[in-house]
């Protein structure tokens, strides 16, 4: 795994974050347009975690994501068009429209799925790490989950299992301070969430989830430990979500001021300023580059919009393995 290099991880991270944000920005609009069914949970503000962690992974590594999982999926290398198509329930989606926003899986790049059950990804990543150990293939698995999910008991079980078996799993806790409408301060008594990992023997670190470099470095160290057979790591990363939990969120649980204050710490803006200051990119170059990225997202959206809905007959396939 390479060290952080502003011109490499920094620049590609910036691009990926900007592209993901542009993708996610469109979610409420598509939702309002009636193109997204059920619920979809955008992650604006939280991009540095997905991107920073993914930069430390290879295609063979696995991730298990959450209900708020577009960024994780895209950062891991998913095609923007096929991801969008899945969110819109189209035949060209990763899951042929069967999954939707909360169930996007992409086997070939190790995306074991966004997931509708809060906390489920924890057990799933632990299982992927177990498979890695049994096969000895040296892959690692990442579980992304939120502050809310950290109150699910499965986390403690996973910590313990991963610690005693030294499973190559990285637990990435995205502390955006809210679980749906519940403030983390009300829902935990010991605010230092690294204590949860440590209690079970999982080396645990906290970091700034709005800082790509910091996330990348923490993730890289964790990946190295995992590949070296040293077992799991917990990363508790502070972050914030700019939009509501999902479409229709009245946000009575927080103030506009709080949201605006958080934006002052924006991971994309901050990194861009840094890269400009370091002379790695100019503002003009970035604008041009951003236009290209955004055009790619627009193309992804058009791809998805133009993709057909699945045939009704498709509803009955894929329940069981063929020929079983």
């Amino acid at each position: 795994m390479a060290d952080y290099n502003a011109a490499e991880q920094g620049l590609s991270g910036l691009e990926l974050m900007a592209k993901i944000r542009e993708f996610e920005r469109r979610m409420p609009l598509l939702s309002d347009e009636g193109l997204i069914r059920g619920s979809t949970h955008p992650s604006l503000g939280m991009e540095a975690i997905a991107v920073g962690v993914s930069l430390a992974l290879t295609d063979d590594d696995a991730i298990a994501s959450t209900h708020r999982g577009h960024a994780h999926t895209l950062a891991k290398g998913a095609d923007f068009g096929r991801t969008m198509a899945e969110i819109l329930g189209r035949a060209d989606g990763y899951c042929s429209g069967k999954g939707g926003s909360m169930h996007i899986g992409a086997k070939e790049i190790g995306v074991l799925g966004t997931n509708g059950i809060v906390g489920a990804g924890i057990g799933i990543a632990t299982g992927a790490a177990l498979a890695s150990k049994v096969k000895g293939d040296n892959t690692v698995a990442v579980s992304y989950f939120g502050d809310g999910a950290s109150n699910q008991g499965v986390l403690a079980e996973a910590f313990n299992l991963a610690a005693i078996w030294k499973l190559p799993v990285i637990f990435v806790l995205e502390n955006n301070h809210y679980a749906q409408s519940s403030a983390v301060e009300e829902m935990v008594a010991q605010p230092d969430l690294t204590r949860r990992g440590e209690a079970y023997g999982v080396p645990s670190f906290s970091g700034d989830g709005m800082n790509l470099q910091e996330v990348f470095e923490l993730a890289t160290a964790a990946v190295e430990r995992a590949r070296a057979g040293e077992g799991p790591t917990l990363l508790v990363l502070e972050t914030y979500r700019y939009l509501g939990h999902m479409a229709g969120d009245t946000e009575i649980y927080r103030t506009k001021e709080e949201v605006e204050a958080a934006k002052a710490n924006d991971p994309i803006e901050k990194l861009l300023a840094e890269l400009i200051a370091q002379g790695i990119i100019t503002a003009e170059q970035w604008e041009a580059r951003r236009d290209v990225l955004f055009a790619e997202v627009e193309a992804a959206e058009q791809f998805a919009r133009n993709s057909p809905f699945p045939e009704a007959s498709e509803a009955f396939t894929d329940v069981y393995a063929k020929g079983a």
Binding site: R37, G153, A312
Partner: protein, 328 residues
């Protein structure tokens, strides 16, 4: 109280919650985001205004910890209080199935009748709004199979109100399954408790009996109109509770119509319709002129895209076809 009002389901449920919390000072309610979401009433509004009226001691937002919550309310109920726990989607109840099935359902029996367990687990099931595989299951059959549980599947705003009142009063653990696509259905509410184990005749008819709940009940009512135009008059029975069950209502109706269709949104295979068919043939064999027909969801998880979701869930047309099949 005597007055009847037209309300949407969530408002009927909300009214029931208010009345329950008045009626039983030992009742309390809890769940994820039940006071801080929306306009302060939880995901579908059912708990609106409760915290303001009854205080934070009786109306609590919980962490996302379904396992301990389901175990805890099971036990709290044995200690002289009446918990009403909201599980945001019934699919999440799997996280606490030990609490429901190994503890709450069995506590009275395995301890020889010492403990009342006046517990209500409110949740919702069903499909229709694109919530996909993990937020759309119809799990009522699983619960109905478990001795010790009562299972309620209200099909109208009025029933939602009346049955929730009864659930709260019951000294048994009650699984109360709202339907997520029916919170905005409107209907008359008379603000009276409705006893468990009494089916409702939703429509009278003499040619065939349809037993159905929730969305499929609605589709059946629509199918009935279509069939009536062809001269086929169906009788529609809403069992309202799957346990206790009111099979006598079914036998009586079949005695008249001599034909049975059972429809539900739960997966057809091993779904509750099989029990209704089996009991009917066992007890009322001679009353049937033809094989009963079941209508249920396909053996698939619930898919996301609308084309797919509609393909796996029974439709009005499926009901019409089933009636015609049994009458053929």
């Amino acid at each position: 109280m005597a007055e009847t009002k037209d309300l949407v389901t969530w408002r009927a449920l909300n009214a029931a919650m208010h009345d329950i919390m008045e009626e039983f000072p030992e009742s309390f309610t809890l769940g994820e985001d039940i006071t801080t979401w929306g306009t302060g009433g939880g995901t579908y509004g059912v708990t609106r205004g409760l915290k303001k009226k009854f205080g934070a001691e009786r109306v609590m937002d919980t962490p996302i910890s379904e396992e301990v919550l389901l175990a805890a309310v099971s036990a709290a109920a044995t200690r002289g209080v009446r918990p009403i726990l909201e599980i945001m989607y019934s699919d999440f109840s799997f996280l606490g199935f030990d609490g429901i099935i190994n503890q709450a359902a069995k506590a009275r029996y395995m301890f020889g009748g010492q403990f009342d367990t006046p517990l209500v687990i409110r949740s919702n099931g069903g499909s229709g709004i694109g919530k996909a595989a993990q937020h759309s299951q119809s799990l009522e059959t699983l619960f109905a199979h478990i001795p010790g549980l009562e299972v309620v599947v209200p099909g109208t705003p009025g029933d939602a109100y009346g049955l929730l009142r009864t659930a709260a009063k019951s000294d048994n653990p009650t699984i109360f399954l709202e339907h997520k696509n029916m919170y905005y259905d409107k209907g008359p509410v008379d603000f009276q408790p409705i006893p468990f184990g009494q089916a409702r005749i939703a429509r009278e008819g003499q040619h065939a009996t349809i037993v159905a709940t929730q969305q499929i009940l609605n589709y059946s009512l629509a199918a009935a109109e279509e069939l009536a135009a062809e001269g086929i008059e169906v009788e529609i029975i809403d069992p309202r509770t799957l346990y206790p069950f009111d099979m006598d209502a079914v036998y009586a109706s079949v005695g008249k119509t001599r034909h049975l269709v059972v429809g539900h949104e739960a997966v057809r295979d091993y779904g509750w319709g099989a029990e209704f068919v089996a009991q009917t043939v066992e007890a009322a064999w001679d009353k049937l002129d033809a094989a009963p027909v079941r209508v249920g969801a396909a053996r698939t998880p619930i898919p996301y895209a609308q084309t797919l979701e509609e393909a796996v869930i029974p439709s009005k047309d499926d009901i019409v076809a089933a009636v015609k099949k049994t009458l053929a």
